[in-house]
């Protein structure tokens, strides 16, 4: 126990004292703020500006659909000029499109919209523009065109144009909230998605960063030959344990510092940011409730609803996932002799980790699917994907427990294997072992 503490102390203090730890800890929240606030600001900005309305409408319908859509867009963006409408003959559409393309290329407009008989029939319209890949912009254009097609039909059916306008003018904002086992939870469903995403990404990041820290630490001890002195005083098992616990706590320290700093940043920084926003922009951003009651309320509403049980499960998954992957990384560190070997040797473990991240998006879109279920039960992806699922939908307790149990077993196996490879590899210089040699290391590990 005494020696474990000595090893742990060195691993922890040497890392926490380093300049890079300080830099990472201080810059982390700034980085997080940038990746959350900046897209929010950008999203708010692009929506609020009249870029969407800056289009040319090529109307080949012959029934004035173009003018309707132009007015519809103008109604959405009163600040912007009404889009130009060109009535064109269906036969000359290709030529007109070429001309419009040229104009867009010359930055006279953002894009052009083609309306033809297919549009009147309610089947298709075409849009080409610089912002064609912006989902938000496309969504607005689609809804305006759809609305106007509907209005045109109602009018054609004999309804009074003024009535038509009143009836079709909607601007629906869907508010979501999550329903869990305990009924409706406060907080929006969206904030849970964001939270789940952030947690899963953070778990992945910390495991990769600090797993590789362990790998480098082991490799340093091996290549500098300091391992030989150290293992003459302490068993390799103790050394490995001290290392994993020490580096693990460095990771925990960093996350804790990040959370505290981020909270401070949100409490004191958010009011400054939101002051620059109009209520309309706030709607666009995630902090909906900030309209009236200020940043604190916005924060409260933006907070995801996480029960104590879920929180504990998250912690358990982080600890177990870290132990699982860091013991594997330690074994790799003991196998390699140079930086060049590291990439290749750590590939299998990195693939396991990356495979968890690849499945994040499909699981977020459908957290109840068979894929999501399987991936959150497999020990190597469970530490990242089960927490993600748990923040999105209620997961039955037995699945969570089974998943944890699986990871525990995987951890024991990884520790058993790694301790043996570590014990032999640490003092084995020369070329990287083949699989056959590795198997022998495990067999003859004493």
């Amino acid at each position: 126990m005494g020696k474990l503490l000595v090893v742990f102390k060195r691993e922890y203090l040497e890392r926490v004292r380093s300049k890079w730890f300080l830099v990472g800890t201080l810059l982390g929240p700034v980085f997080f703020a940038l990746i959350t606030v900046v897209p929010m600001l950008i999203a708010a900005k692009t929506k609020a500006t009249s870029d969407v309305a800056d289009v040319v409408i090529l109307d080949a319908t012959g029934i004035g659909m173009g003018r309707r859509v132009a007015e519809g867009l103008h109604a959405r963006f009163p600040d912007a000029a009404t889009p130009a409408v060109r009535n064109v003959d269906p036969a000359s559409v290709p030529r007109e499109e070429d001309r419009a393309t040229l104009e867009v290329r010359n930055k006279e407009h953002r894009g052009y919209l083609v309306l033809d008989s297919a549009t009147v029939a309610g089947r298709a319209a075409r849009y080409a523009g610089r912002n064609a890949s912006s989902l938000g912009d496309v969504e607005i254009i689609t809804s305006v065109v759809r609305q106007q097609v509907l209005a045109q039909r109602l009018q054609a059916d004999g309804l009074d144009p003024a009535r038509v306008n009143a009836l079709t003018s909607t601007r629906l904002d869907l508010q979501t909230s999550k329903i869990g086992d305990n009924g409706r939870e406060k907080g929006s469903g969206i904030s849970n998605v964001i939270f789940g995403y952030v947690v899963a990404l953070l778990l992945y990041m910390m495991i990769v960063l600090y797993g590789q820290t362990i790998l480098r630490g082991v490799m340093e001890e091996k290549t500098t030959r300091v391992a030989e002195v150290v293992v003459s005083s302490v068993s390799t098992d103790t050394l490995l344990a001290g290392k994993i616990v020490g580096v693990g706590l460095v990771a925990v320290t960093q996350v804790a510092a990040w959370v505290l700093l981020s909270a401070a940043l949100v409490l004191y920084g958010l009011p400054i940011i939101t002051k620059g926003m109009t209520p309309d922009m706030m709607v666009a951003g995630s902090a909906k409730a900030a309209q009236g009651s200020g940043a604190a309320a916005a924060l409260a509403n933006a907070m995801p609803s996480i029960s104590l049980g879920t929180g504990l499960a998250l912690l358990a998954f982080f600890i177990l996932g870290f132990i699982f992957y860091s013991s594997l990384f330690a074994a790799i560190g003991a196998m390699v002799n140079s930086q060049e070997d590291v990439q290749q040797a750590s590939m299998p473990v990195m693939l396991l980790l990356i495979s968890s991240v690849i499945f994040m998006t499909p699981i977020m879109t459908n957290p109840g699917s068979g894929l999501a279920r399987t991936m959150s039960l497999l020990p190597f992806s469970a530490p990242i994907l089960m927490p993600l699922r748990m923040t999105l939908i209620p997961v039955p307790w037995y699945e969570v427990l089974g998943s944890i149990l699986g990871v525990v077993i995987a951890c024991l196996a990884a520790i058993w294997l790694s301790a043996r490879i570590y014990r032999v590899g640490l003092l084995m210089y020369g070329k990287r072992p083949t699989f056959g040699e590795l198997a022998r290391w495990v067999k003859y590990s004493n």
């Binding site: 300091v226 030989e228 002195v229 003092l427 004493n446």
Partner: protein
Amino acid sequence: MPNDLAIDIRNVQKRYAEHVAVRDLSLQVPRGTVYGLLGPNGAGKTTTIRMILNIIVPDSGTISLFGQPHLTEGATDRIGYLPEERGLYKKMQVRRVLKFLAELKGVDGKVAEQRIEEWLERFGLKTPEKDWGLAKIDELSRGMQQKVQFIGTLLHEPDLVILDEPFSGLDPINAQALKDTVVDLKARGKTVIFSTHLMDNAERICDSVCIIARGEKVLDGVVSEVKAAAGDRVVALSTGGNSRAALMPILTDRTLVRRADDQNRFYEIELATGADPQELLRRVVATGAPVQRFELVQPSLHQIFLERVGATGIEEGMQGHG
């Protein structure tokens, strides 16, 4: 009398998949002696040392330290170990590295700090102008790093010091400091074991030696006894001038000379069985070579080593004496 032994190794065996590293090795190291573990590279010296330190576990056999099984809790804390492959944490401050190494051996932090100051001063790493204890390891010169490593070996005041190839890579000044320290350790009643393939060093410093080759003990014992047992069938011959060519026919005469170690102006000659040293002297004088020294001597450890281990036991990288 187990208590008189610092180390008692009985019938130890260590086998790897490809080969046997140590085969049925038994050796006893009395307390308070300087003990040399001699052998060519790959003979099993480092494996033996690692087994003593419980870094690797023997397949069979027992090892005792100061009369206790070496697996006893804290038993290896009484050993100071300087491995052949040296190195320290590059980015760590000298004082912190040393304190870490001492604490690993169970020394209290405060005590360690105090001793570190004494050692740094003794080795000239802390002077009024410059305190290298505050520097990081990789800011130190190689010689200084070796000093730090050596301090780390002795900081916990071990009763048994094991030095694996301590002279390899040492400059003459550090080598001298190391010899002085070994002598000083012995004077203070500590036991020192060192492995080397440099026989001249061993012959001067060691009280007792053990020669191992291919994992097996070839011979062991007190140096003077080992040499006496090898007999006085050895002639030390020194000649002046350029007489080498004239001497060659004599040295290659197998009825007279069994083996000659030609060191250019000095020859260590082992007589053939039944050969008369006077006959050798007569023939050397007859060549007209100016004889500066002709003496019947005990063979050097180097000679004994060559004879007992043989050329086949010496792998590449073995550099004779130095």
